[in-house]
Assembly symmetry: C2
Homo-oligomer: 301 residues x 2
Amino acid sequence: MPRCPGRHSGDEVIEHLVVIGVGLIGGSFALDLRKKGLVGRVTGVGRGRANLEKAKELGIVDAIADSAAAAVKDADLVLLAIPVGAMAAVFRDVAASLPARCILTDAGSTKQDVIAAARAGLGGKIGQFVPGHPIAGAETNGAEAARTGLYYHKPYVLTPLPENPPAAVETVQALWKACGAQVSEMEAARHDQVFAAVSHLPHLVAFALMEELAGRPDAETYFRHAGNGFRDFTRIAGSHPEMWRDISLANKDALVAELDTFIAKLAGMRGLLARGDGQALEGLFTRAREARLNWIKGKRH
Amino acid sequence: MPRCPGRHSGDEVIEHLVVIGVGLIGGSFALDLRKKGLVGRVTGVGRGRANLEKAKELGIVDAIADSAAAAVKDADLVLLAIPVGAMAAVFRDVAASLPARCILTDAGSTKQDVIAAARAGLGGKIGQFVPGHPIAGAETNGAEAARTGLYYHKPYVLTPLPENPPAAVETVQALWKACGAQVSEMEAARHDQVFAAVSHLPHLVAFALMEELAGRPDAETYFRHAGNGFRDFTRIAGSHPEMWRDISLANKDALVAELDTFIAKLAGMRGLLARGDGQALEGLFTRAREARLNWIKGKRH
């Protein structure tokens, strides 16, 4: 990790980390960097005062700032870990006070919209923004959900901009690697397409099933008989509604395309079932099962 | 639990239990009853000799029978724990040799089709068949997957027939309660409709997503970036293809109806997304999340 320019207290250390949005994602990043001794002090910024006080009490942040603009003034690294729909306002707010040495990065689940918002908000300082996405969400949130080790062996996708100085990209990459994440690089558009399929679509599907059953007059009967399969399948339906509204809207085009593909897939399956084509159904289930067993096996290596 | 007529070695004990299909479900039932001292000896029957040998080695069964017809001759209770599509043949096979004192029960995930097969196969002995469904599936199978405690605090649905003597229903109920299951009673048709929604549909959806992504030329990129949400959502796509082919076909009408409802739900969600209706999406996600949190809370009590 390169030395932070203008700082003198030691190599490889982020003197002043500002976390905007001290929840599961932002809080866990701060905790890991603290544990590794890679950060001097941490300031938290956010909409909920009670959550920030809790973050301070839990030793996630040292101080609380009233505004993002004030907090970044003497920051070396800023992590934006807020719903993607809230990022545009923050980029606008911090642009003027962001020091030249400071690197800005994010943890947004969509990248093209966040990059567009950063370009609009940061203007000439866009090179200081290194976009990224740690894949370690959970259905829990708030500072109390934060924990060390959250990113260990989890994917992290970097989608750097042509304007980023290589040193800034390396710093961001090194910090996530220090948290144990498996870092890879992708184009922002490709990132959004891949995550529409492996993350955003499953979330919408889980929300849809849960909401459908909850709306039935005899919902209680359904839920009483639901087992472990249902429990795991719908775990992500416990996710943060605002966050997922933002992700859905931010990645609308790719997600609509994936929904269309998936609806067609289910309609095809319905056709096989209505025709009683057991052989085709078993073939489909077998291909699915093999793909899943291989994927799980691959994750263990 | 009533005394087994014709048996003398003790009250409340099933002298001779025959398990047809010694996998996760059948094997775990035998293990629990053995542990509680509620069973004298256990005979296993099944298609795979190697699996039966393994079941014997693991102490799940004491003996292996070559045919169901031979095994039931001096049985007190028989559990059918095989794919529902394979049950009709077994009912036919055992009808002649089934002693009058013996209770036959099953663990099938669908009930109307199993009951119809039992009526066809057992004829005048239909009163000896007490249909039921333990909700404790997993994506593992075979005798090696069997374990004690599988049914602890899990739902078990009894769908008794008008022909069942109350004592037979009580015996079956008492055995599952002894395994720790939460026993409830339902009409077979209602059972099939409820499980189409809370179990069969989610399985088909998980199989569909996994197979869709696996079929893409760049499948590896998708799977490499899939996180824990995807892992849990698709866990049931690792389930047994033949078993799920049978369940799908056996519960075709209810499952086609649920698929239609769900496809319409997803199409509605796609409309909200395409129109950029963030408020409606957030409302839907919020209702889903609240329903899930309440459900999980209820399960803990």
